[in-house]
Symmetry: C2
Subunit: 478 residues, 2 copies
Amino acid sequence: MPTASSNSHSPSAAYFPDEPELPRLVTSFPGPASAKYLKSLGEIFDTKAAYMLCDYQKSIGNYLCDADGNLYLDVYAQIASIALGYNNPALIEIAKSPEMIDAIVNRPALGNFPSIQWEGILREGLLSVAPHGLDKIWTSLAGSDANEAAYKAAFIYHRLRQRGKNAKFSDAEMESTMNNSAPGSPDLAILSFEKAFHGRLFGSLSTTRSNPIHKLDIPAFKWPKAPFPTLKYPLDQNEEYNRKEEDDCLTELEIIIKDWDDRISAVVVEPIQSEGGDNHATPYFFQQLREITKKNNILLIIDEVQTGVAASGTFWAHEQWNLSTPPDMVTFSKKFQAAGFFYGNDELRPQQPFRQFNTWCGDPSKALIARGIVKEIKEKNLVSQVARVGEYLYDALSSLQDKHPDKISNLRGKGRGTFIAWDAPNLAARNKFLLDMKAAGINIGGCGLHSVRLRPSMCDFLRFTYLMMLMTLNSTFI
Amino acid sequence: MPTASSNSHSPSAAYFPDEPELPRLVTSFPGPASAKYLKSLGEIFDTKAAYMLCDYQKSIGNYLCDADGNLYLDVYAQIASIALGYNNPALIEIAKSPEMIDAIVNRPALGNFPSIQWEGILREGLLSVAPHGLDKIWTSLAGSDANEAAYKAAFIYHRLRQRGKNAKFSDAEMESTMNNSAPGSPDLAILSFEKAFHGRLFGSLSTTRSNPIHKLDIPAFKWPKAPFPTLKYPLDQNEEYNRKEEDDCLTELEIIIKDWDDRISAVVVEPIQSEGGDNHATPYFFQQLREITKKNNILLIIDEVQTGVAASGTFWAHEQWNLSTPPDMVTFSKKFQAAGFFYGNDELRPQQPFRQFNTWCGDPSKALIARGIVKEIKEKNLVSQVARVGEYLYDALSSLQDKHPDKISNLRGKGRGTFIAWDAPNLAARNKFLLDMKAAGINIGGCGLHSVRLRPSMCDFLRFTYLMMLMTLNSTFI
């Protein structure tokens, strides 16, 4: 069990000696200042989805400060994004560095005019934690466009394979693409899974299947979706049922692939479906998926936008699968404040320039922060810290689940670091729980239809005891 | 005519007292260090489109330094992006400010957790230069996703109009959208113009028509395109021809709109088609376009990603049209290092939260730089500076065109600030010209099939005399 002394050795204590031990509430939630200024901001910027107005300069470590001076223990971390806590001193140093000032003031068009520092920033940072088997990178600006860059690479590769390496574009291709028609703009597809979330741009949104509100009224490519296993938890007590469920989904997947007759360029999948409800599948499922995609000449894109960067107890969540061959591309963003995709070989680079291209092609200021985060994760052993904290959290929540099976069910994320979630009885109860928690000083998020998810930063320990305490109270009284 | 003394009063002299008067070349182009390190960078990052490796910390004002220490007069400015020259001292101060450090270290999810500073940053910066009639903003990360956010707003608005304000989503809509099918994912379209460029994500790419290499092998929405006028230059000497050409294009546009029978949600158009070759149309064309779109319940999106932020001699290029009613949305990015779209009324905001949404919803660090650029433009009267420099440049180039009609033709951009372009005789001659200019110390860009475009920063004057001189030399000898 954690104690005050165990905390004094944690990265959190090292980073934030002045971090409070408990949330500090001075108003009800939402506070009057938050409400007033959100209304004023709403005159110019859409605030319909805003929970509170925040004072980031007064936030510290795992505590998020709002406009009223309330300090919330934050286990949502800007939708799974803040890697090392608010106002992390190591990142503040990077933000003040001459390199950062240069990156901010002289933002380069990296495709045309990369900087002399760019290679070092990538090699020392993002590439130093590249997944096994993938040694190249292309940078973009967020998870959505990282996925779209990967999709474009898959389509270009698909047509290269069909056309042959030395074949030129035909006149028919050159002309038809200007009319958005085949063969130049081919009717190829990315296959995604039910309940998946891969972003909200037009291509990525066509692979997103998590919630109608994300998609309604927006035209979509008629791309196919495959069923994602709906497993029973805990996984280790439902192996037989889950294996059959996964096999059924894989069978269905193979039927879809056959129906589409070499028109699926890639399958995109999250290691744990996050927005869609923290839905897990076993390593077996992903191993089979890798075999099926390889057999059918389909690329496999792993979307680690939410699972990546240590959250799952390994640096990349897919490292826990022991695949026979690496995925073809891995996308990421949130915890690095930066996005990109890795790829494994030159064939995934278009043969011609200006095909995978845009003005910015990434952002050195984000890559500098990512390099700093990598350094801290290595120096402070944060991957194992996340695994340790996650194990403690899972066990504590498991006890709570045993005590309150009517309030907490389908606890999931064992052995997956702090990537933990459970189900509330229904949507109303879940939403009430999230509000009750905010009112009690805990900023926590939901996902799926009626799930609660933990997405803390990587540098916390003791403070979760307080979360536990509150959950106990809440689960008793709701 | 500019002289050394006139330069001493220019913003460039005020910002960069140590800026050189001439390019400084110490190696051939590309230099050996650039070539060597580009090859090494190319092992991990695609450098097929890279011209040179740059040393931004040694760049100054209008001069871009490469890895070999060559200083190029830069009239391309990171593909029309660097607003105030390299290492602008005003922007360096902003980069060092506590607000910037906060924005870098604690990147907020602005849709859920906006900061107490966010409203002020927007009101003092981006919104203070909002085009007439548009007083709201939504922020994104680049030009492409700004356009896609505008497209999504248009589609949502279109269906709201069809469905009625108080109607709920039907079960059929909720179910079909999860399969990417109508009615939930409707077959609506954005209409764009031939030779247009609006970005490279899947939705924006479907409206891009500038060059097959941007589009080949990537699936596209079957959205329509209308002809864009091919005018004769100079515009004031070809009014009759141009009017007929514009009328013909408008007639064709109306036919397409009728054919699509209320399935076109918006028309997107650049004030001057930039990547597609600096193609101009007259205010008459855009006035008619505004009337036609209004009459047909179609939104008008002006893509000012390249033309915006003073480059055209007014803050927004479309301000020169005297429209009867403002455009519905205006997108921008490059010169602000930030992107967003303005809109004019609450109806363009989705009624429900989480429809126009993503993790970041913009980036305060970019909005801070944008605010600084706005302040400098106002304080140093850079809009009129750009207009003045543009007039001088246009006149000088016009003389050159008279002298070398075989080398320079279709000079365009009179009265459009420094947004100036001309045609080379053919693609090979244009590309040779661009290389010759680099070898002579001028970094200049092309566009369209065989055009050359000027896209300098806003704070230059005297140095263009040197550009003129070189052009003279080149146009004499090529």
